[in-house]
Every structure is written in C-alpha cells, then in structure tokens.
Amino acid sequence: MSDRILMQGNDAIARGLVAAGCAVAASYPGTPASEILSSIDRWRKKCGATMHVEWAVNEKVALEIAYTAAITGLRAAVSMKQVGLNVASDPLLSAAYLGVTGGFLVVSADDPGPHSSQTEQDSRLMAMMAKVPVLDPASPAQAMAFAGAGFELSEAFGVPVMLRPTTRVCHASQDVDAPPFRPPGREAARFVKDPARWAATPVFRRGLHDLLAGKIAAIAAWPATAPIRVNPDVSPVKAVVASGVAFAHARELFGELGISDRIALYQAIQPYPLHAAFIEHLLDTYTEILVLEESAPVMEMQIADRRRVRGRMTGAVPGTGELLPEIVERLLSRFAGLPNPGRALPVQGGGRRPTLCPGCAHRSSFYAIRKAAPEGIYPSDIGCYTLGINLGAVDTVLCMGAAVSQAAGFDYAHRISGGRVDIVATIGDSTFYHAGIPPLIDAVVQGARFVLVILDNGTTAMTGNQPTPGTGIGAGGETTAAVDMEGLVRACGVRFCRTANPDRLSEFVALLKEALVHARERGVAVVIARQPCAMVSLAAGGKAPDGIVITAECTGCRHCVDRFECPALVFDESTNRVRVDEMTCTGCGVCVSVCPVGAIRRE
C-alpha cells in the first residue's frame, strides 16, 4: 500500500497553500479554478488552522480582501479563472506598485481550448502588464510545490506573485506526497501605516513604479525560479523551451521520439520575467530555439533575436487553440527533422451538446419567456442558463453581468431609431450579485424598458453548487448573513419586482406578460424565477414518487423535444413517438403542461 495519494491539481494547489501557512483565501467560482477554495476549506479543517476562507461576491472583491491581508504581513491567496482576472485587474495592477509585506499569491487558471470559457486569454500577459512574476506549473505535484515557492518569492521581493495553472493542470489528477502543514501559531496581523505607500497619490506612484521595475529585474535573476535543463549532458545546437503542461507533453515525447540526445529541453517555471542570464545563454548557445507555451507568446517575445526563435509569433506554433500532445508531437518532429507522425490528429469536440439537466427550472423559465414574448430579444449571461441557447431563448452572451446592460443597450438602440421591441433578459442569482447590480441601477436611472428575469436557483450551479450571497451559507458550510434579493432589486429603484415559481408554467407566463406591459410603459421590470437547482433537490430528496408516462395520443409532433428539450424526453425514430427515459427523468412533471395534445401525463 502506497503512502502517496491521488490529488486533483486544484486540490494540490489548495494543499500547497494551506501547508505553507496561507491565512486568508478568497475566490469567486469559475471553471477550471472552482475546486481550489473548497479544497482550501477542507485542508483548513483537517489541520485545524485558523483562517478566513470566503466565496466573495466577485473576483475584484476577492482579490482586494486577500491583498489587504498580505499588507498586514499575513500570507494570503486569491483564486479565479482567467476571465475573473479581468474583473480583478484593477486592484491587481495597483497592488503591484504598492507591493505586500506578507506573501500574496494570485492564482489565475487559464483555459486554452477554450473548454469552459469565453476566451483563451493568457493570464501571464496580465502578469506582464502588471509587472508581477508568474509561475507556470506542468503538473498537480508541481502546482502544489509552486504554492509554497510563490509565497517565498512574494515575501523576498514584497510583490504579488501569480500562479498560473491551466485546465490540464487544474483538472489533472496525480499521485503525490502531500507536504506537512506548517505548525500553527503564526504572527498576528500588523498593518504599519505608510500613506505615501498604501494610499499613494500619483506623485508617489512614479517612484513606486521605479521600485517595481527594480524588483522585476532582480526577480529575473532569482535562482529558485530559474529554468531547469532536463538533459544537461548533451551539447546540441537546437533547444526547446517549454512551460506549463506543454512542457509535460514535450518531456514525454522527447523520450518517445528519442530526441533527448539531439535537442536541449528546458522547463521555464517562471515565464515572466524570463531569467536574463537564461535568455543570454539561449542566444549564445543555440542556432534554433522552439518555444512551446500556452496560450500567448509570453516567453517568445522576451527572447529578442527574431532570427533564431520559432513559436506562436513566427507561425511555427499555431497562434490559437490548445497545444494538445498530438500537435506538440508534430512540432517536435518537424523541429528535429523527423518524418511527420502521420494521421493521429487530436480527438476534439463533436457529439451530443450539453443541455439543461432534467428537472431544471431554467427550462421552464425559457419556455415561458418564448411564450410571453415570442418576437423578443433575449440577452443572457454566464452560467448553466447559457444553455437556454438550445431553447432559442438566449440571443447574446458577452461577460458576467452584461445581460442587464445589453438589455438596456438594445432598448436605447431601438428607441433612438424609432423601433420598438420586447426585451427579456436572463441572469442567474450568483451572476446578478457578481456584476448585475450596477447595470440595473444604470437602467433604472436611464429609464430603460425591459424585463429582467433573475433565475434564482439558490446556488452557483455551473461550477459545482457553491453558495451565493443570498443563501446564508459560507465557504465552510457555516451560517452567514443572507442578502434579500427582492429588497436589493427595489433598492436599485425598480418599481415592478415579483417572485414566482417558473415550474407553474401558465401562471409564470401570465406574470411575464404583466411585466412586459410594465416595461413598455414604465421602465425596468424584474421577475425573480425562484426554484432550487434540480441537482441540489435530487441530492436532498430524490425523484418525485409518481412517474411520467406518454399516452397513445402522442402524435410525434416533436414540440416537447425541440422547444422544451428535456433529456428525459426521447424521440423514438422507430415508433415516431416520444418516450420517457427512466434513467434520467426526475418526475418534475413540467412537461405535462407543455404537450399540445395532452399526451404527457403523471401516472
């Protein structure tokens, strides 16, 4: 029996943080980073450390909370997905100038592909813009080790440090030896007042920028994060410089292709700032250098001699998309002068599209919206309910909170050009708290005419059912204060705010029509569609006792399959009729009122 344990990358990052004495951790959920904070809470309980661990209302707030702990001398971390870093970029760029007194790690998980994101942007570019160092792990084990190393780097130079895993690190699992927890009993928080630094006005910022530039130059010579040469015993004229999981693919392929004696392989664990002596060594030693990194040419652009460098900027490496191992194999084969490996193209995409779960109340809301405003425009937002696109009830998805501002924008655009259109926007409860409130205030002030449906399932479902500010539950399951959504909406100045269960379809359609009348005549109307997430209900209480049956009256019209799209309603080509999939049906019974001929019944 081995003493090694299986750890997912996110779990490993959490273990590394807690083991290194992280005292404050905050996050907003987002794939592929979501599991980090819940794991931090689990490890915290396991080692009995006193920590503040929270699901913050958004990434900006999360970063500010963790950063502030780090200017009292405590170790602190914030975790998020890459687009969350966009939201948190304002405090990050300023925090780089001011620096920290305790270790501060910004964990920003990228999603090349992208698999579950709006963009495949590279957080390392944000680190470069902010002038903070970034560590790029190749595996869960390395991500765990970099958490501790990141705190040390941060404290040595008094700067925020970014840890940038990608999906293939976050959601890889590996056997690891978990590090022991640092003994409890840390120093107390101690904030030393220094307004010229912590409240620096522009006149002081220039000096702070000079200081930061000096730190970055010194970090580019920091031995602990210098690139690692995998095969130091050979003296070839070509080199591959790789970081992140692209390095893991390359290392495995170096063995398989038998090129370890012909090409030097380096892992750059700190892609920015790339070590100055390393850049010199590369240019002094090799005639050709292939750079493998995801997803932007961050290292490549730091290696100044354009004649010798091959990468994403030169077109040698594809400029977009994930560096899958099949692609790395082709690139390495070409670079080594080996024949093209032939067919073996990456297996990607295709197959059944994702859909709202059986029993999901969002399905009812979308069905009702199309009934109430069949000619409407439907702005929507980020979450499970983006899948309302399958039901023809989602027309736009831009970024967190944009459903509300886009609804207003559609109204103004049509208003000034003499048109009139019904606009029904949808946003989840967690997304509403995250970024929906300022645009709602704006819409009220500007007199925008639209209906906003807040899909309140009482959880952040898409990312694994984290609590929202409305649930009154904290990251560790503890009781917290809960925000009153209706009160919040009214306080934004909304005069029509009604709450209903969307699974009562006909009543819900009638309420939406009432809201549309209000919106046309008097401005923003909010309908709160409140019904718990079906995943949560199923876990708590199981299926409804009575089953759903399809009677002989089914005409095979496909209305329920195409317009309602419940995975438990299956069109059977052989009988030309619909049947119920007993494996997945939750027995919610909403489909009973969807069938135009009454052929769906409860047993």
Binding site: S116, H171, E326, V347, C384, M583
Partner: protein, 192 residues
C-alpha cells in the same frame, strides 16, 4: 515528476473513458487511479469539468505507469471504455492498433479494423437491478471480467483491487458500499 516505482515495473497502460455528463465517468477514473496508486503505480488523469458536465460529452484520460503528460494521444489508448454507444464514433480514434473497446451497448458496434469489441447492455442491467446510477460500475465489472485484470494483456488491476478501492472510498462499509459492490459484481457476472 513520476518515475517507475511500480511493483509491476515497466507496465504502461493508457485508458480513455467516455460518456455523458452525469454518468459517473469522473468517479470511475478516480476509482481506477486510486487502485493504481494502491498497486504501486504512478498515475496521471485528465478530467472534464464545467459546462460539458450538463449532459454533454465527457472524457477522462488515465495513464498508469511512468508518464509525464496527462493526455492520451490519438492512436495510443490500450483501452477505451464507452458508457454511451454514440460516443464510439467520436472517440475510437484514441485506440491504438490492437486496442480494446468496452462499450455499454445491446449489440457490439462496428469500431473499425483491428479493434477488439466487447459490449454489454449495462443500462438494462443497472435498471433491472434498481440501480440506474451504477451503470459505470456495471461496465467496469464487465470489463475486468472480460479482458482480465492484473494479468498480462489485461487491466492493470484485478477485481479485488477495485473492491478495495471502493471500500476505502466508502469508509469500509455501509449500504452505499454494498450497492457499489453489487453493481460491480453484476458486471463481472456478465463478463465472465
């Protein structure tokens, strides 16, 4: 980085598991990974999370033995376990020549030349046992019995090692462990 510390040194096995969100692909890959570690093998897996878990196509990669990359390349899998038959067309390209396809299907589908196919109607078995959510374990049990486990040419682990891994997961006992073991045994009985 992982080295070759396996008790059965030199074993390298690459497995791809394919299904839809909600079928328990993630559970299966972690269970196998834990069995691998208990058997003394280094292990790397890659999982699917996020929107695809809402009923979309879900794939797990599992590499047992000394590997560096968490992903199985096309044409390299020794074994492909498919929980939804329609995914066979999508993912059979993962299989190496001479690879084995284990699929949840009433009749064996065509998986192309050079692929050995073993099919079982795990949906029907799980439903008849009143355990529709244990399709994953039924298929795993079938696979272990059909191609052998812990032996040359078979799975990297034996059925007993999966039982132990399940037992560790469920704290050594209880009705959930009993249900899981029954599902596994149901599959084993149909694969023998």
């Amino acid at each position: 980085m992982s080295g070759s510390r396996g008790k059965r040194n030199g074993l390298h096995q690459q497995i791809v598991l394919s299904g839809f969100g909600g079928q328990g692909i993630l559970f299966l890959s972690r269970l196998l990974a834990e069995a691998a570690i208990a058997g003394g093998f280094p292990v790397l897996t890659s999982e699917t999370h996020g929107m695809a878990q809402r009923g979309g196509v879900v794939v797990s990669h599992l590499k047992v033995g000394g590997f560096e990359s968490p992903l199985v390349r096309a044409g390299r899998a020794d074994l492909l376990l498919v929980l939804k038959e329609e995914n066979v067309a999508l993912h059979r390209e993962f299989l190496a020549g001479g690879g084995v396809l284990i699929v949840n299907a009433p009749v064996p589908p065509d998986a192309g030349p050079g692929v050995r196919v073993h099919a079982v109607d795990a949906d029907a078995l799980a439903l008849s046992a009143g355990a529709p959510h244990a399709v994953n374990l039924v298929l795993l049990g079938f696979a272990l019995a059909r191609i052998g486990g812990g032996t040359a040419g078979g799975f990297f682990c034996a059925p007993g090692e999966i039982r132990e891994a399940l037992s560790r997961r469920h704290g050594g006992g209880g009705s959930r462990l009993d249900d899981a073991l029954s599902a596994l045994d149901l599959g084993i009985a149909h694969g023998t």
